[in-house]
Amino acid sequence: MNKKQLSEHIGNMDDRLVEQAEKIPNYRQLHHRQTTRRFITAAAAFALMVCSFSAGALAFARETVVEVPVEQETITLEEINLTLILPDDWKGKYSVEKNGQNYIVYHPRIREGYGTETAFDGGILFYIVCHEESMMPEQFVENGYDLVGYRYLFSTSDKTYILYYPSDVQWNPENPEQETEYLGMEEEIEDIKFIVDNILVD
């Protein structure tokens, strides 16, 4: 392929992409606003901590070693010593499937109604994928694996574990009830905490 042919292909891209790029915001200003908002939130949280907790509690909060309360909704992937602390309202709404060295966390009822053709489609909430090489977060990006939404979990001497978000619609688009339930859970994925060998992963 030559550059002109590639440009012609780019010229035939999805209209929606072109329309979206027609008027782009000033991202720098947007980032600045978000950073300010985050800083204010963090400052407020910090002030609250200082006022509310004793010095001992504050010291404990700095510790990275955690114990998972028994009543918490969790998934434990014993082979890799990884524990996921899930939102409480996920109880009874998810299943885990092992696929090679990878794990698929999905909503069984939504998956059932989706008419899944492959293991990686239908009701998928997220995947935990094992890459057969040890990568730091920056190397993961440099190697070009960050094509879809992801969360870097941890790496060992020869492997890297990444949480990937599905890129396609995972529910039956004709079923609004499924859509609401899926989107509700999807929003909460960010709240999941990961513990490797009792150490909390950021």
């Binding site: 392929m1 030559n2 550059k3 440009s7």
Partner: protein, 116 residues
Amino acid sequence: MSRIVRNLALKKYEYISAAKRNPAAVTSLEELGDCVSGTDSIGTEMEKRHIEKTIDKFLWRLEEEKRNVFIRRYWYFDSIETICKYTGFSQSKVKSMLYEMRRKLKKYLESEGIKV
């Protein structure tokens, strides 16, 4: 309408580049050379459609701001300066974003079995 204008501009690439009438379009086309081997390929309509769908898929998976910077540069043929003006980003940031996306696009096309 803008699509027609773009394609006409592209058809006149040789004319544009020879006369240096639209330097931004010329340099943006030159940059795309990073993603391809440079050899002419004759593909069927179905193959062309596959390439276009793959490019769409690649773009939809990018973060919104990166995607829009890419489209402004390679669809609208905006200059780096214009993109900086719109986005508020520095020139070096825009250039490195574009470089990174061209590299990823090449990798992605290859991973989808497309001979670049």
